[in-house]
């Protein structure tokens, strides 16, 4: 029998029994929708992680010692020497962080204040919106100047302030006056991002003002992905030589954290997809069950078809196509439902969920495959009916 004819017939018998067909498809619909949803949201979470790390800046290594006092050998000169010796490490900046009360006229807020060098802005892949960066001379002369993150500016000076208007103003950090010399470009519109809230001041000033004797945390950048490992090893060796104990410090490479997190997300995703797969299996069994019922109901029809010349293959094909049609329609509805759910959940959780073409192709492939596998047994039963017995069947 021609494929098209068999398909039309299958469609007809599905339409003749809409409720039954829908219930039969339900397992497939739920299974496919679940797969699409999980993969889509998984991609969303991965995107979110990548965005977060992109905000942090790419190719970054953070090295941090736990003890203030034993950090006395972590001097700018020594670190500079190490960075200059190794070509894999490109830039670096000390990092002195504290949350401080910031005051401008009547506005008072607690914001993170970071003591850094001029290189910090480029280490963190930040850009200046207006004014100038912190400069070497600010560090050596302990100039009380600051560069504001974009949201730090809008927080202090009001929402509608233009970056240029803030330049030259004075804000008070812990009661000390600082002149605003630069504003950073906005990185993320999100209120939850800390990356736009910071206030940068020269590290020398931060050490003095906040009474921090030794710098414990340092930011480094490395050349490219390939040099990440070598750069991490060089820094690790340097720190080990100073502390003689790997437990006294920590070295974090953003790339490897991101890779680890993506690995974890992928593992979770696979487990969830496997669970959703069980639903597909159950759906397939549902189709098999209904197909068996259908074969029994249509025994007489099969008898007639065989009497007028249908061979086993013709009957087999008819029923397998019917099963495939059922599961394929189920799969299609599942894709629609899944895509719809991904859109809703993504917007609810503010992630960029994304229904990949892969997952759609895989889901449709699986649903057709299920049709073949679970349709074959009932179809085979139909094909092997004896025409005489089938014709006598009432």
């Amino acid at each position: 029998m021609e494929f098209k004819q068999a398909f039309m017939l299958a469609l007809k018998s599905i339409l003749a029994n809409k409720m039954r067909a829908l219930l039969t498809m339900l397992g497939i619909i739920i299974g496919v929708a679940a797969v699409i949803l999980i993969v889509g949201l998984g991609n969303g979470v991965t995107n979110k992680v990548e965005d977060t790390f992109k905000e942090m800046g790419s190719n970054i290594i953070v090295a941090s010692a736990y003890m203030q006092n034993s950090s006395k050998h972590l001097t700018l000169e020594k670190i500079e020497e190490m960075v200059n010796e190794d070509e894999n490490i490109t830039e670096f900046s000390p990092y002195v962080a504290a949350n401080k009360k910031i005051k401008y006229e009547k506005t008072e807020k607690t914001l993170p204040v970071d003591g850094v060098t001029s290189q910090y802005v480029s280490v963190r892949s930040k850009k200046l919106e207006a004014g100038r960066n912190i400069e070497y001379i600010d560090e050596t002369r302990n100039q009380k100047v600051c560069v504001l993150g974009y949201h730090a500016m809008t927080d202090m000076f009001g929402k509608d302030t233009l970056p240029n208007e803030a330049i030259g103003e004075y804000i008070k950090i812990d009661g000390t006056k600082f002149r605003v010399v630069g504003i950073l470009k906005e990185i993320s519109k999100s209120k939850f991002s800390d990356e736009d809230n910071m206030i940068l001041i020269p590290y020398t000033v931060a050490q003095k003002e906040f009474n921090i004797k030794y710098i414990t945390t340092w930011y480094f950048t490395y050349l490219d992905k390939e040099s990440a490992k070598t750069a991490t090893d060089v820094i690790d060796k340097f720190f080990y030589n100073i502390f003689k104990d790997a437990d006294d410090y920590i070295i974090i490479d953003a790339q490897s954290i991101m890779d680890n997190m993506n690995d974890t997300i992928n593992t979770i995703k696979m487990v969830l997809v496997a669970i959703a797969g069980i639903s597909l299996l159950v759906g397939g069994i549902g189709i098999m069950n209904i197909m068996l019922v259908s074969v029994t109901e249509r025994t007489r029809e099969i008898g007639i078809r065989k009497a007028i010349g249908a061979n086993k293959k013709d009957i087999l094909r008819q029923f397998v196509i019917e099963a495939i049609t059922t599961s394929a329609i189920g799969g299609f509805l599942g894709i629609l439902l899944g895509t719809f759910l991904v859109t809703i959940v993504s917007s609810a959780f503010e992630i960029r969920g994304d229904v990949s073409l892969d997952s759609i192709i895989i889901a449709s492939g699986i649903s057709v495959f299920i049709g073949i596998i679970f349709g074959y047994l009932p179809a085979n039963k139909a094909a092997n009916l004896h025409p005489i017995d089938a014709l006598r069947y009432e």
Partner: protein, 179 residues
């Protein structure tokens, strides 16, 4: 009847059709013979209710892998012959018993079989339509179709050219009935 129709194979004895021992054939080979050499007219019409008239008539041609245009042509031709032109799109349940039986005759004719087997073709019909159907079968016979008709009704049997009487599985009479 089922054995002549290759729907069943004999448990003992041989059935030779066109020089082939049917008892030795596989399921699919029997289907092939039914498709190419035989046409069936059943007492209960045995039409497929989900298919319309033309699809029912077309069905054996589909299994014969006849191309679509020719199928429709031959199906229409067969329907014309049984007097059902214009009823192509109707469904079996929209037809009377006599009309349904004509559809089944058209289905048997469509493949141009060597032999048409009719198993009590008038058994489910009232006497009036029964006569009509019988007339149609006779007509087809006049046109050169071989028809084997099984019946309990002597008045129907009397209209055949050759009568074989079977009682308790044994042939008790075989006579020509011409003229």
């Amino acid at each position: 009847m089922n054995i002549i129709g290759c729907l069943d194979i004999p448990s003992s004895g041989n059935y030779i059709l066109d020089g082939i021992d049917v008892g030795t054939l596989s399921d699919d080979e029997l289907s092939y013979i039914r498709n190419y050499k035989l046409g069936f007219i059943f007492q209960q019409y045995n039409l497929i209710q989900k298919l319309n008239v033309i699809s029912n008539v077309e069905l054996p041609l589909i299994y014969k892998k006849v191309p679509k245009e020719e199928r429709i042509l031959r199906a229409k031709e067969a329907l014309l012959k049984v007097g059902l032109e214009g009823m192509e799109k109707r469904y079996p349940q929209q037809l009377s018993g006599g009309q349904q039986q004509r559809v089944s005759i058209a289905r048997a004719l469509a493949t141009k079989p060597s032999v048409i087997l009719a198993d009590e073709p008038t058994g489910a019909l009232d006497s009036h339509t029964g006569i009509e159907v019988l007339e149609l079968i006779k007509e087809l016979n006049e046109e050169g179709n071989t028809i084997i008709l099984v019946t309990h009704d002597n008045s129907i049997a009397a209209q055949a050219k050759r009568i074989i009487r079977i009682s308790d599985g044994k042939i008790i009479e075989d006579k020509n009935n011409e003229g």
